[in-house]
């Protein structure tokens, strides 16, 4: 039977509408997936331009190119949105035509109903009801099975019992209690509670004795580059290998090893310890103490707090980290806060963070993502512009965060290369080093991006790449790896003097009692007058290799060598004694 012209026309219309819809969907789908895969934000061209700008922050041409490219991407995005909207309406119209034409065509071809008389209605109803009951039971089983799968596939970390809930909720209130049990600022200043002292400046306020020689030396059971921290009569250092990461506590008066404790069974820490570069090792980060607990972090990501008797207070796993030389940033403490700068990766964004933990409990108070790659500088905490600020360094940003809450206060794009030296506060300025490039003084009272406004002065002479500066407030001192000591005025950044020491240096210098201490990698410990003239105040020969920075407490100097821990003081023994 030949189809009628109307039917043929309807079928043709349905085909045309179907093909139209298919083509339109193809275009829209292509646009969608192309947009999803070609994210303009990850455009190699844009990223290259951004890297160029990061390397040359004042490059106006690069800025202009980025703006133009950004505008171009935005225009493309708007065009695509408009195309999507138009396409959606066209598609809707196509579907309407398709449905109408196809529906009409089917109606035209529909055969006329010719129902026959039906018998056996009663039996059929019974059979139907029976089947329906069984199928309903089947539906019930499917529902029960689905719920069972949901239940079995779910893991809950929340407690199942009332007692579990009480236990979980109880510590939250209890955790606040230890906050008040924090030593006074004077206690922090009298000790050496973190890398480069209580404020990270490398300046000791607790002694002015002349240092004459080694009082004692004590063997260190495990390798590491971390510097000693001192609180009262205790000296703490960390060491570790792939097999074991440990904390060691020595008697500051005698050098006796009081206890050593491994950091192990850290929840979440993988059994297979991540490998780190041998030169850096697992214990390059200096510990910190708040006088109640002592904290240690290792390059595999393990963090632990120990009581002064050596028992473990709490542990956390923060790794793994992507760090080309191994994690080496030291811990910082301020009051009851433990601060951890976790910069990592070699591209932005890289997962870098700054964390503030409650020291007593290990509870994370806040956590901030940082737009920087791996760095090795240690943050300092300063009181400036009426705020307690955390100053962090990494390429290319100097960023200040509020200690309370972690909000970013200001940032400046000033740093280049691999940032190792830590900042110090001197004369109201933050002194910092862009490695091998420049020594800068910043005013820490800005807000937002202060790149163009915060720098007070810059000095590009004899800029170190590893060690941090030190200052007595009037003069600042830097030491290069080649042993060149440079003194500049804090107020203007002008060089006052320079002096070449015959030694290689990796440790950061320190100040105690008006003396500048510079520790050679293979000794000696050189002492210079920290004034406008570099008077030589003596040297103490040491037969060890020194990478860690000296710690000062109670008029003594504590040095960590590769094999021994040394205590130097005024009444030097004729020969180093082994406890």
């Amino acid at each position: 039977m030949n189809a009628s012209p109307v039917y043929r026309a309807l079928v043709l219309t349905a085909w045309v509408a179907g093909v139209f819809c298919a083509l339109l969907c193809g275009v829209l789908a292509y646009e969608h997936f192309a947009a999803a895969t070609n994210d303009p934000w990850k455009s190699p061209q844009l990223l290259a331009l951004k890297d160029k700008l990061a390397a040359e922050p004042k490059n106006e041409a690069a800025q202009k190119e980025i703006r133009q490219l950004d505008l171009q991407f935005r225009r493309q995005f708007r065009r695509r949105l408009a195309l999507d909207k138009t396409g959606a309406w066209l598609l809707a119209a196509g579907v309407v035509v398709l449905a109408l034409a196809a529906g009409r065509a089917v109606t035209l071809k529909k055969p006329l109903p010719l129902p026959q008389p039906k018998t056996g209605g009663g039996e059929q109803s019974v059979r139907l009801a029976s089947r329906a009951r069984w199928s309903l039971a089947g539906v019930g089983l499917v529902i029960a099975g689905s719920l069972l799968v949901v239940r079995l596939g779910n893991t809950s970390y929340l407690p199942a019992s009332q007692a579990g809930w009480q236990k979980l909720l109880a510590p939250s209130a209890a955790q606040e209690a230890p906050v008040e049990d924090v030593p006074a600022l004077a206690e922090f200043q009298a000790n050496w509670p973190r890398f480069r002292g209580w404020d990270g400046s490398g300046v000791s306020l607790s002694g002015s004795n002349a240092v004459a020689g080694v009082l004692w030396q004590s063997a260190i059971p495990a390798p590491g580059h971390s510097s000693p921290v001192v609180w009262g009569d205790r000296v703490f250092i960390s060491g570790g290998t792939v097999a074991r990461r440990e904390v060691f506590c020595y008697n500051a008066a005698t050098g006796a090893l009081l206890w050593q404790r491994p950091l192990e069974n850290v929840p979440g820490s993988p059994p297979k310890v991540a490998e780190v570069p041998e030169d850096t090792g697992y214990a390059a980060s200096t510990m910190a103490t708040d006088g109640r607990h002592v904290y240690a972090i290792f390059a595999n990501g393990d963090l632990g707090a120990f009581n002064f008797d050596g028992t473990v207070a709490w542990t956390k796993y923060l790794g793994p980290w992507k760090n080309p030389y191994g994690y080496a940033t030291s811990l910082a403490v301020w009051g009851s806060n433990l601060l951890i700068q976790l910069d990592q990766g070699d591209a932005r964004p890289a997962g870098s963070k700054l964390l503030s933990l409650q020291g007593a409990s290990g509870r994370v108070l806040w956590e901030r993502d940082r737009p920087v790659p791996a760095s090795w500088a240690t943050p300092i905490v300063i009181e400036a512009a009426g705020k307690t600020q955390i100053i962090t360094l990494a390429n290319p940003w100097v960023i200040s965060y509020a200690l309370a809450g972690g909000n970013e206060l200001w940032r400046a794009q000033l740093l280049e290369n691999e940032v190792v030296p830590s900042p110090v506060l001197a004369g109201g300025y933050v002194l910092l080093l862009s490695p091998s490039t420049s020594l800068m003084a910043l005013r820490p009272d800005g807000a937002g991006d202060v790149t163009k406004t915060c720098v007070v002065w810059t000095n590009e002479e004899n800029v170190p790449d590893i060690s941090s500066p030190v200052s007595n407030g009037e003069l600042a001192f830097t030491v290069t790896s080649g042993g060149m000591v440079t003194c500049v005025g804090v107020g203007d950044g002008k060089k006052v003097w320079e002096k070449q020491l015959d030694m290689e240096v990796q440790a950061s210098p320190g100040l105690m009692g008006g003396r500048l201490f510079v520790l050679g990698e293979h000794g000696p410990l050189a002492m210079l007058q920290a004034g406008r003239k570099p008077d030589d105040l003596g040297r103490i020969a040491l037969a060890d290799r020194f990478v860690a920075s000296p710690a000062f407490a109670g008029g003594h100097v504590f040095l960590r060598g590769m094999t021994n821990l040394y205590c130097l003081g005024p009444a030097a023994a004729k020969s180093a004694k082994q406890p």
Binding site: V11, W15, A17, G18, C21, C25, G26, A29, E31, H32, A36, Q63, I66, R67, R74, G87, A88, A92, V95, L98, A99, A102, G103, V106, P113, P115, Q116, G121, G122, R131, A132, R133, W134, S135, L136, G138, V139, I143, V150, R151, G153, N154, S156, Y157, L158, L168, L169, S172, G268, K316, Y317, L318, G319, P349, A350, G351, V364, W366, E367, D369
Partner: protein
């Protein structure tokens, strides 16, 4: 040719998937300083008060017109145009909100959350179709529901679903209704709205999953009449119950049924029921009574078993609550630390939880208690509907004529024109 037609139509609708997914993307703000100040994000203002009442007025008017067309005019054509109007107004103009289907959630949410006052217009949207159904059956489904109208429009060549399967699948809307009301009552969210497969079409925007679900329903709707309404719509479940007690009911014939069976094939929704004589075999009757007795005993057991199973499901279901989910993620991070991307929602939420976990854990504890009760009720509800449905399927009803099932009939009026008596009444047959 019909096979080709199906293929073309299926292709066209399946490719609807590509329709609006791109509209979800956003372009980030510039990350360099250029002096431009980004405007602060703002929430769109609420619809003006009088316009909300206008919407309610349109709904009431549409319901009245639907009842008039159904019972007075017996006009399929009128209902078709009314449903097109509803599709345009409640669907594309109002973008599926306020939606009658989701409105029971507002009511339940208001009942369990004293801070939320249910707007009067939402109450009208929720209860007006039910009240109408108590008198005139599912007039709302016939010509006022935009979701139903969209599916009706796409219906091209209906095939019949076996009645035993239809009866079994008919419990799913009640399960969905229970889940939606539980989520609303616990303050988790409006599940029914979130998983409405047609609203993304009305809004020309939506997630890929829900767009795909909508496309599947439309595709299936070309051959299975109103699949969403019959096998998923939770509000349809309520209307089905209300229609069972309706004062008036749709009658195929305006006169006397001649049992010509012409109307049987005209219903694309499988709602037409054939005559069923009363049971005359005493042996069969005894067996049916015995089965009914067992099922009546089974009913409380099913409810209790469902409540027990619901309690076991509670920890998993509670994770629908955002605070419970965050608390779970926070505790998981404590024991199994994971790295999240910079500024990802996971990282930001964990940051928030880490700053002050106590209130989140406290809130999670309260949510878990709520969910424990809610899941017991939900499980018991499933047991109840399964038991009641089994009992209903064990009751024998007797009919002498072909007539629509009161609960299943959408009152679309398609069957009217299939009846010779109706054609006589209209003067189409002399």
């Amino acid at each position: 040719m019909a096979r080709h037609l199906k293929f073309v139509v299926a292709l066209g609708v399946m490719l609807l998937l590509g329709l609006m997914v791109s509209a979800e993307q956003r372009f980030p703000p510039p990350d360099f300083e250029n002096g431009y100040v980004l405007p602060s994000a703002s929430t769109p203002p609420a619809r003006q008060f009088w316009l909300q009442y206008a919407d309610a007025g349109v709904l009431l008017a549409c319901l009245a017109v639907a009842v008039f067309l159904l019972y007075k005019k017996r006009s399929r054509r009128g209902l078709f145009w009314l449903s097109l109007f509803s599709l345009a107004y409640f669907g594309f103009y109002r973008k599926g909100c306020v939606c009658v289907i989701g409105s029971p959630q507002n009511v339940v949410y208001g009942l369990f959350n004293p801070q939320y006052a249910v707007p009067a217009t939402v109450l009208i949207f929720c209860f007006a179709p039910i009240v109408v159904a108590l008198f005139a059956g599912r007039a709302f489904c016939a010509g006022v529901c935009p979701q139903g109208a969209l599916q009706d429009f796409m219906l091209i060549k209906p095939v019949s679903v076996p009645l035993w399967l239809e009866q079994a699948l008919g419990v799913i809307p009640f399960v969905f209704l229970g889940a939606g009301l539980i989520c609303a009552g616990t303050g988790t969210g409006f599940l029914i709205c979130r998983y409405d497969p047609f609203v993304p079409f009305f809004r020309l925007s939506g997630g890929l999953f829900i767009l795909a679900a909508g496309a599947v329903f439309l595709l299936a709707g070309m051959f299975v009449g109103r699949p969403y309404c019959r096998f998923l719509c939770p509000y349809g479940g309520l209307l089905r119950l209300a229609s069972l007690a309706s004062k008036w009911r749709v009658r195929v014939t305006p006169a006397v049924c001649t049992q010509c069976r012409l109307c049987e094939k005209s219903c694309p929704f499988g709602a037409m029921r054939e005559p069923a004589p009363a049971q005359t075999n005493p042996t069969g009757l005894a067996a049916e009574r015995k089965r009914l007795g067992w099922l009546l005993v089974l009913l409380p057991a099913l409810v209790l078993a469902g409540a027990w199973a619901g309690a076991k499901l509670s920890p998993a279901a509670a994770q629908l609550d955002p605070n419970v989910a965050l608390a779970e993620r926070y505790l998981r991070q404590q024991s199994h630390p994971a790295q999240y991307g910079l500024m990802t929602p996971e990282a930001l939420s964990l940051q928030r939880a880490s700053e002050n976990p106590a209130p989140i854990l406290q809130s999670a504890a309260e949510a878990r208690r709520r969910y424990d009760t809610a899941c017991r009720l939900f499980g018991g509800w499933i047991g109840l509907i399964l038991g009641v449905k089994l009992i209903a399927l064990s009751l024998r009803s007797s009919r002498t004529d072909y007539e629509p099932d009161r609960g299943a009939c959408f009152a679309c009026a398609r069957c009217f024109s299939a009846c010779p008596d109706e054609r006589v009444r209209l003067g189409q047959i002399l």
